[in-house]
Each structure stands twice: as structure tokens, then as C-alpha cells.
């Protein structure tokens, strides 16, 4: 320090050096083992450090890196970081470097007639195709959207509708669709406010510009609107979460499924009332649930399969609880009670965590294992309204995207966390706002609670990118593209 104090402060800041230990948790970008702490000038910023690491790794093509110090990304120079956090320049700084997120830029928006409640993607990397071991040619990816007008639409990447589901009169949904998913490249499942889960057969013409969505199966059993769906294609099983406080466990196969409960069929309602005949002219097989799991005391917002074990299901509910189910015996295994209503759910199998979006505007990461000492392992804060949709990063096991009623999608890295007085807290890495706002020239205007641009559904695919749908009646596609994307 004596040399530093001798010179003036400006000179000192350029001359000052700090010892850093660069680490990484990914093998492919780790430095050689014998790299001990190194001395770097404190004036360095992210870019300089990234160049340095690339040089040390001997990469021909530079990989952009982000640097994590104590769980926060380095956004200033090291010197400013040290000053802000009161760390003496004499200590050894542990810096973890991770691959930088390429900013997902807006690619396209597909316009709808009504609010879009959910989206799903069919591509080579999407679960529907990969589990069926089908290959989708590049450029032949499909995007499925479920809309509040009760129609399913399948889009190709050049914003053309390939197929639309039939209307209510022809065996379609009689009310808004809340959830839609590809089961396999040629079958789709959807559910909505009309309390039915419908399985569709999806077929395309050879040219790939027109296709057909034909009803295959109607599943009855819920007494309330259905909020979300989850599919497990290899075992032909579906989970549905409904506002009638129950979770439906269904089969996509006609032969497996038991008969539908008579009293819930539309024909039963017809006989007793003089309602206008909404029933379709076509006859579709009607089936009931394999099991209805009920122990929640409030509407169930989401139900998902465990990513590794299809016999385990998780459900999140407005009653603040997250429940683990054994689907074979249809029994409740465990209940974890949090302090807020849970609105969405996603499994992070690598970390044994479940991410749940809450009405309290944050995402709670919950360890569902019985051995876990604390319920909430981490809290991700940043949204300004309820978090209603979650999806995993297809490329990184640490990444997560959330869609919220505040009109933004936020990308999170669960490595970027700080231990605060509220426990482990993370901040978002990147925030995607709605393009429709920008087009209206209101991007600057602060909307209270995302009025008019609420995000209802988000999907993240390795090939297509981030697809989000919302109240602005459109699907928005964002993808990280650019010179650096090849890394």
C-alpha cells in the first residue's frame, strides 16, 4: 500500500492491482488447473476481463463471458466494485465466469384476434419432437398458440397460419383456451374455460403451408376452468390443473381412458336445460380422468410432471402450497407451504428445485425433497406484477425465464444470487418488454401492472428462441442472434 499512498489517487487507481482467482463451474471453459490467483489492474471492466480469459483459454473465437463476484455480475470496473462493497484491494477476489447471455432481440410478432393465453413450440430441440425422436427440418418449426377466442393456431416461422382448430360447432372449444401443448409432432392437447381437455390430431400437407387440426378425444372430469396442462408423451399422460381445486390425470389414448362421467357431459346439460345447442355436429369420443387428485383448498394454478420421473407430479396452488404427488397411486406425498399464492411452476431437475411464480411478484425456488431444511431455497425478485408463466433455459441448467402480468419476460440466472437479509435473493439478468408497446410509441410510458400487455404464456426453445404471448393479442419471438451467437 505504501506505493499507492505515495502517488496521487488518480495514478493509484490505474496502478493498483488486485489478486483475482478465476473459476468456472463448466468444464469446457475452465482454466487449466494450475492457474492460481493472478494480479490484474483494478481498472478492468467486463470486456477486458473477458478478453483476458479468452486469451488464457487460448480460444480462437472469443466467447463473451460474464463475471460473477459474490453472486452479482460485474457491471462496473473492479475498482468501483471494490469501493462500492468496501472490499480491501489486498484480498484475493474470487471471480466466477460464465458464458454471457446474448441479448435476445425481437424477431417477429404474430398477430391474433384475441388475447393469447399460451404458446408452445415444435422444433428439433423441443420436448415434443425430441421425445418422439422426430426431426424437424430447420425452418419447419411450428408455433402453437391458444387464444381466448377458443381457437388453436399453428404458425410457421414466416408468420403464416398453417392450421386453425375447428370452431365450437365443429367440435372445438366452446370457451377460451387457457393451455395448449404439443404432445408429439402430430398431436396437440388443449384445455380451457369450457372445463374440457381436448386432444387433437395435427396433420400437415406435404408443402407445409397448410395443415389440419382434427378433434381426437374429449376429456371430461373437471368442474371448473382448467388453468394449465403438462404432458408426458412417452407414457401418454397429461396433467391438468383446474380452478375446481383438483388436478386431473389423463391418458391421451382412447383405449386407456375410462368412460366420461355422465353428469359432466354437455349432452346431460342439454337434456335438463333449454340452452342453445352448442354441441358439435361431429361426434368425438368422450373419456374421463384416470384420477382426480384433490387436496388443495384453492384453485390449482399449475401441475407438472417431474422431469426425470413421470410417476411424480408437482402442483402449485393459490392456497400457498406446493404438493408432490405419486401419480401411480394418485396419493399426496408431501406438502410445502409457502407464504404466497403460487401461480406457475417449473422443474429444474439438475438442482432438485422447483421454481414457482407467486402473486407476490417474485419467483420462489423450492426444494421439494423431504431432507431440505428450508422451504424457499432462493427468491428471484424483479417483476412488478404476478408471475404467471415459467420456462427453462434449453441451453443452461441455471437459466430460467418468467412471464409476468407486468408485461415483461425476465431471464434469470440462479448463480447470480446474493445472500441478503431476506435469504438468498437473485436479480434478473435480462428483461424483455413487449414489442407492441414500442410500436405504439409508449415504451417509455410506465404502465401500471402491465395494463394491456400482460404476458400470459412463455416458452423457450433452443432453436426458435423465446416465444411469449399476452394480452396484446400477439405472440412475440425473441432470439439472441448476432455475430457472437455461434459461440
Amino acid at each position: 500500500m505504501s506505493e499507492g499512498s505515495n502517488s496521487t489517487s488518480a495514478a493509484a487507481s490505474t496502478q493498483r492491482q488486485v489478486r483475482v482467482q478465476l473459476t468456472s463451474k463448466q468444464e469446457d471453459i475452465a482454466l487449466p488447473e494450475n492457474t492460481g490467483p493472478i494480479l490484474v489492474p483494478t481498472g478492468l471492466r467486463r470486456y477486458a476481463l473477458s478478453t483476458l480469459v479468452n486469451n488464457l483459454l487460448g480460444n480462437d473465437k472469443p466467447i463473451p463471458f460474464e463475471f460473477l463476484i459474490n453472486g452479482s455480475f460485474l457491471r462496473t470496473s473492479i475498482d468501483e466494485y471494490l469501493t462500492a462493497n468496501g472490499i480491501s484491494a489486498e484480498t484475493t477476489l474470487e471471480i466466477e465466469y460464465v458464458r454471457a447471455l446474448i441479448p435476445p432481440l425481437h424477431i417477429a410478432s404474430f398477430e391474433h384476434d384475441d388475447w393469447v393465453s399460451s404458446v408452445d413450440v415444435l422444433s428439433t430441440t423441443s420436448p415434443a419432437a425430441s421425445l418422439a425422436s422426430a426431426t424437424i427440418a430447420a425452418g419447419q418449426e411450428r408455433i402453437l398458440s391458444g387464444s381466448y377466442d377458443g381457437l388453436l393456431r399453428v404458425w410457421n416461422m414466416s408468420s403464416q397460419i398453417v392450421a386453425t382448430s375447428p370452431s365450437a360447432a365443429d367440435g372445438g372449444h366452446t370457451a377460451s383456451i387457457k393451455a395448449a401443448k404439443f404432445i408429439s409432432p402430430n398431436s396437440i392437447v388443449s384445455a380451457g374455460l369450457d372445463r374440457t381437455v381436448r386432444v387433437w390430431k395435427y396433420s400437415e400437407d406435404g408443402d407445409g403451408f397448410s395443415g389440419k387440426i382434427a378433434p381426437q378425444l374429449e376429456l371430461y372430469g373437471h368442474k371448473g376452468p382448467i388453468n394449465s396442462l403438462s404432458v408426458h408423451a412417452p407414457s401418454n399422460r397429461i396433467l391438468s390443473a383446474s380452478s375446481d381445486h383438483s388436478i386431473g390425470f389423463w391418458s391421451t389414448k382412447k383405449s386407456d381412458a375410462p368412460a366420461a362421467p355422465e353428469d359432466l357431459l354437455p349432452s346431460a346439460a342439454l337434456r335438463s336445460s333449454k340452452r342453445r345447442k352448442l354441441n358439435s355436429s361431429v361426434t368425438i369420443p368422450q373419456r374421463g380422468p384416470l384420477a382426480l387428485l384433490s387436496s388443495h383448498s384453492a384453485p390449482v394454478s399449475a401441475a407438472i410432471f417431474d422431469s426425470n420421473d413421470s410417476t411424480v407430479g408437482y402442483s402449485a396452488s393459490w392456497d400457498h402450497s406446493l404438493r408432490t404427488w405419486d401419480l401411480v397411486t394418485a396419493t399426496l406425498v408431501d406438502t410445502r407451504t409457502t407464504s404466497h399464492s403460487l401461480l406457475s411452476l417449473e422443474h429444474l431437475p439438475e438442482h432438485h428445485l422447483l421454481a414457482a411464480g407467486t402473486s407476490a411478484r417474485h419467483i420462489t425456488l423450492i426444494d421439494p425433497r423431504v431432507s431440505a431444511t428450508t422451504i424457499a431455497a432462493m427468491t428471484l425478485r424483479g417483476h412488478t406484477n404476478a408471475v404467471v408463466s415459467l420456462a427453462r433455459d434449453p441451453k443452461s441448467s441455471y437459466g430460467l425465464i418468467s412471464g409476468s402480468h407486468d408485461g415483461t419476460c425476465r431471464i434469470w440466472d440462479i448463480r447470480a444470487t446474493k445472500t441478503d437479509k431476506d435469504g438468498v435473493v437473485g436479480e434478473s439478468v435480462y428483461s424483455i418488454s413487449r414489442k407492441s408497446l414500442e410500436e405504439q410509441g409508449k415504451s417509455e410510458a410506465k404502465r401500471i401492472g402491465g395494463e394491456g400487455v400482460k404476458v400470459f404464456g412463455v416458452a423457450w426453445d433452443g432453436t426458435v428462441g423465446i416465444v411469449s404471448a399476452g394480452e396484446d393479442k400477439r405472440i412475440q419471438i425473441n432470439r439472441g442472434e448476432g455475430v457472437l451467437s455461434s459461440a
Partner: protein, 681 residues
Amino acid sequence: MAKIKKKGTSGQAKNYITRTQAVRKLQISLPDFRRLCIFKGIYPREPRNKKKAAKNSTASTTFYYTKDIQYLLHEPLLRKFRDQKALSKKIARSLGRGEVSDAARLEKNHAPQLTLDHIIKERYPTFIDALRDLDDALSLLFLFANLPSTAHVPPKTIALCQRLCHEFQHYLIVTNSLRKSFLSIKGIYYQATIQGQDIMWLVPYRFVQRVNGDVDYRIMATFVDFYTTLLGFVNFRLYSTLGLRYPPKFDTRSDENGAELAAFTLEGRAVGETTKAIEGTKQTSSTANKEVSQDVQAKVDKVIKSAGLDQTKDDQAVQATEESTEEIDKFEPAAPEADTLLQPDISGDTAGALFAPFTFYISREAPKAPLEFILRSFGCKRIGWDAVLGDGAFTHDETDTRITHQIVDRPALPESSLPAVPAASENGAGAVQKVKPGTRIPGRTYIQPQWIWDCINEGKLLRPDLYAPGATLPPHLSPWVKPTRGAYDPRASLAEQEEEGEAEIAAEEEEEDSDEEMEEATDGKKVDAKAEDSAEEENEDEDDSVDGGMDVAGTDDDEDESEEEMEDEFGGFEEEAASESEDEEESARTQHQKELEAEAAGLPFSSSSAGGDSTKKKSSQAKKVASKKRKEEEELERQKMMMSRKKRKLLEKMMYSNKKQSEEAAKLRSKRRKLEKGAEK
């Protein structure tokens, strides 16, 4: 006919057991019994009728509940105590035979280990219970952490206490849950709020403690055993609720260099528990080569040379992060008569932001440990101190330009030796490598340590000029004593709290006093008395306020003493005033008489009237106040007549205590008045 009941088979005779009986029943020695009682939280009880409990024996003994002792019978620790006894017998036998190595082996290998874990679980079924009982534990452990090691207090115990205390302090720093602190004679009081529980403890000052023999360290050590186990569990729980690793990383080397708090590094539990191969190698490599390897460094330097040019360029805009401003809703009572909800006066966020923007420098003479703890728990990240005070500082360089506040605790030097105005020429002097003590470096605020304490107790930053080095400090008051109406408040000015006419009367008394004193010409004596008074007052203030906060009973003793002293001084005045107002007419008559007499004697008229003038003025003032008082009293008396007996009694009681309080306040006010007068002169 009913069976005749035998004496001593039920009731108190059965419910109580004497200590001797208890010890005999448990078959352990008395010291072991004492320890066991401390661990289990069993204490002697006073029977309602001693004679009945002692079965007519008159010897004075201590009693325990029979049930309590019964409950001790199946305590796992009891077996440990017996094992210990057996072992000590074996050792004694070996020693008696001269088999020293045998004895050593026995002691080394067979000594039973006491674990108190189950007792903690038993005594504190919930975590909140443990938090509620933390006050004593913290006070004792902080005391032991500051004790010198002696034969009774092994250094290992002290080190353990220090570690636990520092870990606990770190939790408070992370959560910003320290709320208040107060410097008293006994030590520094701290109050923290953890999970809604207020915890208060006392930390002694770091003086050289003289350990004297009249303290039973064996008993203390038993408590320390118990409390260290308790605090260990509490710390673990507190850390794990935050997702922190426990125990935190402890750097022995920097601890030896006196880093204290800074020797600990808190780490969050990473989410990716799947420790990959790299992690393992990283661990080994970081331990293997702590030193910078030459070839890698050379490579790094080369890279930096080439890349270092564009370091000023911003490659990416800093993303605006939204501050989480979650304020607590204020609950206002809807109707004026509704219950008021107790509101937390300061939230963690505001506490965490109090000192956040500043860089402090603690001078050599200021107490580093408490200052560092308080500053850190109120959000200050950058604290520097002199290298003498130990490791772990943000900077050891006093001339660092980033420092915004410097805490000094030495008297200001005479004006001549200080740079009067931070002029440009003085800048050069300030940048000298070793700063001369007492020099001021421009661009920073110099304050005395009390500023920190007063700021955190107020919850806001106070004017630093009142706390400048050498300034007479404002009174440091206990944050736990709330000023009540009518009581003396040292913070408010005298004029604000004086009763009507009190000042005038006092001023007149003063005049009279001074006149008398002039006559007597004993000025020196008066000054002495004043000095004494002021000293006394300071002590008293401090005592009172602390005691009030800690709810300690029995503070009346010293107050009584002071009261007596005061009565000697002031009793006379009041009487005088009263009699004068009462016998106003009488005095008028005597005045008249005197005048007549004087006239008869042939004295000049003016002198006598002039002499009476001052007394008249004084008496008129007093008269006014007295008549007003009398009127009020009459009114009250009338109201009292209409009350029921019960209510009247209550009112009288209330008035009595109010009067006592106001008398007390008046006394303190008069003291202050005197002091202020003294200062003016």
C-alpha cells in the same frame, strides 16, 4: 370414623424437598447438583410456609419442588456425572499406586463428554423460545469474550465465546437487525430485533479487566457451557434461514492480526450443489499455490497491455435495476379511541441505508470494535482504520480521499496548531504520508464517536457540527426511556418545560442568593459546589436512563440519596415562598408598622421604601403564582367532594405520584438552570 391422617404425607411437606435431600436422592455431589440445576433450569423455591415444608425443622435450608427433582432423576446427564465420579476414583487409585501413565490414559480416553444438545431442545421447544432467552446468554458470552484468560477461564473458552459472538454479530450485520445502542457506565447496550423478538445485551468496554477472587468462576463456567451450546444452535438456525453456510469461513491468520469481525467470510449456499470435478481441483489448487505463478502472470500482463487501452470504453450499458422499495404499511387507528397498533420504528431497509453512502475512518484512539459493528450493521460498507487497530480494514491510509467521515476521540488542539481554513496550501500538508495527530484533512467530516450512537438511536443523521472534536457533546440519552409528560427532558430547552413563573421565581432567588453571597464573599466555594453538582448530575442521568431501559428495579437508592442532598439546598426557599404568600396581609401590616416606626425614629422615607421595593416585587410574583395555585386547588377540592370515596382515593394517589414526579423534574430543572447560569458567567 375417617382414618386419622398422618402428618407430613401431603401438601407442602410432600411438595418440597430440601437441597440435602435432593442431592442424596440424585446420588451426586453438590457441585454436580448445582451444574445440573443450571443446565436444566431448575431453581430453588420458597415454600409458602417454611415450617410446614421443613417438617418443623428450623434449620434454614433451600427448598426445591419434589417434582423438579423427580424429573431430574431420569436425566441422561446424571449418568455422565456418575461416570465422571467413577473415573475420578479410578484415576485417584492409579495415582495412589504411582501409575501415572495409567492415570493419564484414563483421563485422556475415558473422560465422559458432556453434550447439552438434548437439553437445549428440551428447554427451547421452538426457535422463538430460544431467541427470547438470548439476552442473558449474549451478555455473558460477550463478557467472557472480553475477559483475559486465567486459570479459571481457559483461553479455549474465550476463543469459543469470541467466535460465537462474532458470528452472531455477522448475522446482525447481514440482516441489518441492530436497532439501538447506548453507552453506559457498565458497558455498551445493544438492542436487536430478530424475527420480531427484541433482544438486548450488554458488552463490556475493553478495559483491562482485573479478575478478582470473589466471583465463582465454576458457576459462571457452567453457564458459559450452556450458553455457548445455545448460541451455537441459534447461530446455525439464523444462518441457515438466510441460506448462509455455517460455520462461516474463518481466517486464522487475519484473526491473529486483530481483524476480529473481518476474519469471518460469509458464504451463501450455492444452488448448484452438484460439485463437479473442477470444484474439487479448484479447492486444491487454491490451497496449493496461493502465490501468483510467474508465467501465468506474465501472460496476463501481456494481455492486459493489449486490452488495457480500451478500458475506459463502456461495452454494455448498465441495466437499470429496480429497487425493491417495500415499505411497511402504516396502520393508523381509524377512530381516535381505537387501539393503536404498535409500529416498528425503524425497518431493516432504513437501518441498512443509514451509513451506506459513507466511508468512515476510525482513528487510532477511537474504539474500533463497537464502531465497526455498529457502522456495518447500519449499512456502511467501507470502514478504514489505522493499521495499529488490526487487519481487515477497507484502507489503512488516513489520507485516502474516499473517506467521508473520520471518527476522532481526542480533544481539539488549540486553534493555532490547526489549519484554520482548509486552504490550498494545507492540502500539501495533508498528503504527507504520516498524518500528524490532530491535523485535519479537508473534504471530510470529523466527528466524535457519540455521533454514531446518537444517529442510530434517532434513526437519522444528526448535525455533525455538534459532535465536532473538542465540542461539548449533547447529552447521550438512553434510547429506551421515552420522555413522559411533566418529567424532565434533558433534550428540550429549559424554557420549553418550565412551569409558569418558575423561571422568574428562580431568577429572583438567584439574585437574592448572589446578594447574600456577595456579602459573605465566598465565591470560591460556590464554584466548587457547582462543579460538584454538574458531575453528580451527569452520573445520575446516565444511571437513571439505563435502569429505565433495562427495567431494573431498585434504582431508588441513589435517587433517594440525591434527594436528601437536594433538600438541604432547596428546602428553605420553598418554605419561605409559601409562608410569604400565605401571610401577605400580615407582611403588609408589618410594613406599615415599620414605616410608622421609622417615621417616628426620624429616618428618611426613601431608604426604607427602597428596601421594601425588591421584596415587594418578589412577593407580588410569588403571590400571583400562589393565588392561582390556590384557586386551582379549591376547584379541585370542590370536584373531589362530588366523587365517590374510591375515586377520590385513586385521584389522591395519582396526584401524589404526579407531584413527586414534578418535584423531581423541578429539581433537575433548577440544577440545569444553575449550570446554564454558570456557563453564561
